[in-house]
């Protein structure tokens, strides 16, 4: 019997609503964390997973309070402890690695000081030893030149480096238990894979227990021994990692796994209907009842208890888990995407370059472009009507910059953007006529920010209808209802405000707004990355359906290669504002690949403990594209030598029509990459 390090018993946490009702965020949670194990807590936003992790440190956020139960650590209840006593446990016995290290490091204090502070509080080392230890810790989290990093301020580091500093800070007190709250969310794919690998190494190296909280089953799969699945403030499934990911016996987990797009499977995964109930929603039966494919009559009025199954070492909260046990594997079915490609070019980017550098006064007068190394350069893409083309790359790859220029938000520095073979769209917004504006619409990443919080859904969708088509009264209303139905929202949504909608519903409104203009091209900027996993598939399916109905062309920007794989016909891979590879989706995802595509593909985290990410290149952050040669020379593990540094690589075209821009001959690339 292994030692239990933290015992959560019947924990309920909640808040008082304005009406004075008690609303529960966590409902009667009990679980144990054993010494040396890594437990993954997975759930959607609002499932209570972060609240649970914070409670394990005896911390309850402002506005929330403990209703009942305890978090027992060293046989004392953390939730009843005085602050003074908690200070001796926090950071020393239990440490936290926060979600967003950029926000969690104090901006006015140097990195070295912030780690030193933890050492001063939680160790007996003298100043010299502490200095030594800081270097040691920074070294351990694999930060280059620890001495200089210690003297920097948080904002001078990249996202991945900040996250590593947060890990070093947590390790400073040599804690017995590490709590990780979405530690890799918000990092680039490659950085994410590297940080996860580091965390795995630390878990093995120090024998620390970890609680890893995330919405991302892919990340959880890479680190956890055991997984707890939370839904609506309850544990719905808890068991060994492998069993949960391979043979989930709770319908929610089953549906979740089915709705995640996979690299190996092109096409759109099936979506789960509905969304998680808001805290405080009253229901008598199972909280998952509305969305469940396996529900029965009794689920409606009776809520199932968490049942422990000895033979599987798994706890499950479902009446019907036995019928799921018969499913041997999650058999994912996908809807193949249908594309009716017309052989008509709708948008042509030729030799486009975009620069953020401000023109100097003299250059402005002479009307010339001085930046010889612009952020985005040499972009040549032909987009056919009805096609979905995806732009992929890490942050800083210029994918959003290109979208902005197509939308007219950013003027191009050179090259031509041509719509429908004759209309020149190289100008910015001010010079475009209303029809040019209508034909291209944008859907943004975060619907919370792209929808005006003071407008009702009706007003939001009415705007483009009034602006472009001058619709009024009855006709306007009819059109709005029509559009809402198209995005599968009922008429009653018209009077609602964005804050009264769930994340998925908000994004549907944003989609409806884009389609209201009857555009030819829709630019989708990371449209699913702010959404919960179970909702993501539904939005993707909706976009696909609308495209088939209207023949719209999508330009889809995303960092998530699995999502891109699911929805796009063609993919363009960008690094530092330069194209690396362009080709039909299925070919880009197969070797031979551009070395950068290979890095990206290797870093994808799949919700399968058997598929480990392959880390091909270092996750260095380059600030500027190189002056000459291949854009990827700084990170490429296959670099040939001087030729890569001096000459821009040629386009090589594979038999299937995939273009790769690399000096290495295709045959050699293929040979190396398959091994």
């Amino acid at each position: 019997m292994t030692e239990i390090i933290q015992k959560v018993k019947n924990l309920s946490i909640g808040f008082k609503s304005k009406k004075g009702e008690e609303i529960l965020i966590l409902r009667n949670i009990s679980t144990n964390i054993k010494k040396g194990e890594t437990v993954g807590i997975v759930g959607e936003s609002g499932s209570g997973k972060s609240t649970l992790a914070l409670a394990m440190m005896g911390y309850v956020k402002h506005g929330l309070y403990t209703i009942g139960g305890e978090c027992e650590f060293n046989s004392s209840n953390l939730l009843k402890m005085k602050n003074r006593d908690l200070e001796k446990i926090r950071g020393r016995k239990i440490a936290m690695i926060p979600q967003n290290a950029g926000q969690a490091l104090t901006p006015n204090l140097k990195i070295g000081y912030q780690i030193d502070e933890a050492l001063q509080l939680h160790s007996d080392l003298n100043e010299e030893e502490r200095e030594q230890k800081i270097s040691e810790l920074l070294n351990k989290v694999r930060l280059p030149s620890p001495e200089t990093i210690a003297l920097r301020y948080p904002h001078e580091l990249s996202g991945g480096q900040q996250q590593r500093v947060a890990v070093a800070m947590a390790l400073a007190g040599t804690p017995d238990l590490l709590l990780l709250d979405e530690p890799t969310t918000g990092l680039d794919v490659t950085t994410q894979a590297h940080v996860l690998e580091l965390l795995n190494f630390i878990a093995k190296d120090t024998g620390t227990s970890m609680v890893y909280v995330s919405h991302d089953l892919g990340a959880i799969a890479q680190v956890s021994d055991r997984i707890i699945v939370m839904y609506s403030g309850e544990i719905v499934l808890e068991g060994p990692s492998r069993d949960i990911l391979k043979k989930p016996i709770h319908p929610y987990t089953y549906g979740l796994l089915k709705s995640i797009p996979k690299l190996s499977l092109a096409g759109l995964p099936q979506s789960m209907p509905g969304s998680q109930p808001q805290p405080g929603t009253m229901y008598r039966g199972c909280s998952f009842f509305d969305r469940c494919d396996f529900s029965e009559e009794k689920c409606k009025n009776n809520s199932p208890q968490l049942e422990y199954l000895e033979e599987l070492n798994t706890s499950v909260r479902c009446f019907n888990y036995k019928s799921l046990m018969n499913h041997s594997q999650v058999n994912q079915t996908v809807n193949k995407i249908k594309t009716s490609l017309e052989d008509k070019e709708i948008l042509n980017l030729s030799e486009v370059s975009i620069s953020y550098a401000k023109q100097k006064l003299l250059d402005q007068v002479l009307n010339r472009i001085s930046d010889d190394n612009p952020t985005v350069k040499d972009i040549n893409i032909n987009i056919k009507k009805g096609e979905t083309i995806a732009l992929v790359g890490e942050s800083g790859s210029g994918k959003s910059t290109i979208l902005k220029s197509i939308a007219g938000l950013l003027r191009t520095k050179g090259g031509i953007i041509k719509f429908d073979q004759n209309r020149n769209l190289s100008s910015d917004l001010k010079e475009r006529d209303p029809n040019d504006l209508r034909i291209i619409q944008l859907i943004f990443q975060n619907p919370d920010e792209s929808l005006n919080p003071n407008h009702t859904v009706e007003e939001i969708i009415a705007q483009p209808l009034k602006l472009y088509f001058g619709l009024k009264s009855e006709e306007l209303k009819k059109n709005i209802i029509d559009l809402l139905q198209k995005v599968r929202l009922g008429e009653f949504y018209m009077s609602r405000y964005p804050r009264q909608l769930s994340g998925g519903e908000k994004q549907r409104v944003a989609v409806a707004r884009a389609f209201a203009a009857k555009p030819d091209i829709i630019l989708c900027d990371e449209v699913t990355s702010a959404l919960d996993v179970s909702v993501q598939a539904a939005v993707l399916n909706l976009l696909q359906q609308l495209k088939e109905d209207f023949g719209t062309t999508y330009i889809f920007v995303s960092h998530d290669l699995a999502v891109v794989r699911a929805i796009s016909d063609r993919v363009a891979v960008l690094y530092q504002g330069r194209l690396c590879e362009v080709g039909p989706s299925k070919d880009v995802y197969q070797f031979p690949s551009h070395p950068y595509t290979e890095v990206l593909l290797g870093a994808v985290l799949e919700p399968d403990p058997d598929i480990k990410p392959k880390l091909v290149a270092e996750d260095i952050v380059e600030e500027k594209p190189p002056q000459k040669g291949c854009s990827f020379q700084g990170r490429c593990s296959r670099i040939l030598g001087d030729i890569c540094k001096s000459e821009i690589p040629p386009w090589q075209i594979t038999e299937s029509g995939n273009s790769i821009r690399c000096h290495i001959p295709l045959k050699e690339l293929q040979k190396d990459q398959i091994n």
Partner: protein
């Protein structure tokens, strides 16, 4: 960094130039001029001509502006009309008096405002916050002419502790002035402190809710250490600009308070010279007040730049 400072100073000078132009043009457009005001009914014929010659008003406007500007840069603003004395001499003691009043209000008001703001934020929604916040909101909403009058009524008239209005010569010595400024300072400090305390409170509350403060708590940093190391430096940074604006406002003459207390500062001079149509003095005042605003804001911006590591590196890199 040096480049930035020079750039900001240049921008400030341009601002001053524009202000001087506007006031000059403004006074030109107004019907009548210094001589017609001065001579009143005798403003015709030989006498008017003589006056124009004496004051140099018989040359084109742009020439007058240039000669005025050249003199102003050297500190010579010409002659005041009312007393026929150099404006320099009129301004000197007024500036001194305003400085005394302003610095007294600053030295009393700002520390109190900081303490009140921090206390209310740290004990948010608890008794100290509720009590202090009620008082500060109250103090903020009472206009200073009411509070000043009430102060005079209670302390000067009923209790007879301090003089109610200032009846001293303009160029009185500092020590003699001191008892006279207590009531004006209280009247000004009340409203100023209340405003600043509210500002500091919201800034501290905002920082207290930040992720890095939560992280500091979860790191086991003791409460007061967290407040002093992690909260205050970040919360007080935005306060610098507000403090600067307040100081500029104070120096620029707290017109209402000075008038109520009959205090011989810049604010009262503004009112006096406007009602006397003493245009050269008005011009001089406009330039001086503008330079006070410009220089104090410049100072505040530079201070923020120095103290905020984020801005500092950003500027250096540029």
């Amino acid at each position: 960094m040096l480049f930035l400072i020079i750039k900001r100073i240049l921008l400030g000078l341009i601002t001053l130039f524009i202000v001087s132009l506007i006031t000059f043009v403004g006074t030109e457009i107004l019907p009548g001029d210094a001589c017609t005001t001065y001579l009143e009914r005798q403003a015709f014929g030989e006498q008017l001509e003589a006056c124009y010659r004496r004051l140099g008003l018989n040359v084109p406007a742009y020439e007058r502006y240039v000669s005025w500007a050249v003199n102003a840069i050297q500190g010579d603003f010409g002659y005041s009309l009312s007393g026929e004395m150099p404006i320099k001499e009129v301004l000197g003691p007024r500036i001194k008096n305003s400085l005394v009043l302003a610095s007294a209000a600053i030295f009393i008001g700002i520390p109190i405002a900081l303490i009140l703001g921090i206390v209310t934020a740290l004990w948010r929604d608890k008794l100290p916050d509720v009590a202090i916040s009620t008082v500060t909101i109250f103090a903020m909403t009472i206009p200073e002419f009411i509070s000043a009058t009430l102060l005079i009524l209670i302390i000067a008239i009923w209790l007879e502790w301090l003089p109610g209005i200032v009846i001293v010569p303009t160029d009185v010595s500092f020590l003699e002035l001191l008892p006279n400024i207590i009531l004006p300072v209280i009247a000004i400090a009340m409203i100023m402190t209340a405003h600043m305390a509210r500002m500091v409170r919201s800034s501290v509350i905002q920082v207290m809710a930040s992720e890095y403060v939560q992280m500091a708590i979860l790191k086991g940093v003791p409460y007061w250490k967290m407040v002093f190391k992690h909260v205050l430096p970040n919360a007080l940074l935005p306060a610098i600009n507000v403090v600067a604006l307040t100081i500029a406002w104070l120096l620029g003459g707290v017109v209402v308070t000075e008038v109520v207390f009959n205090y011989p500062g810049l604010g009262r001079l503004v009112i006096e010279s406007i009602s006397n149509r003493d245009l050269p003095t008005v011009q001089a005042l406009a330039i001086i007040l503008a330079s006070i605003y410009v220089s104090i804001n410049l100072l505040a911006d530079l201070m923020t730049l120095m103290l905020n590591p984020r801005l500092k590196t950003l500027q250096i890199r540029k």
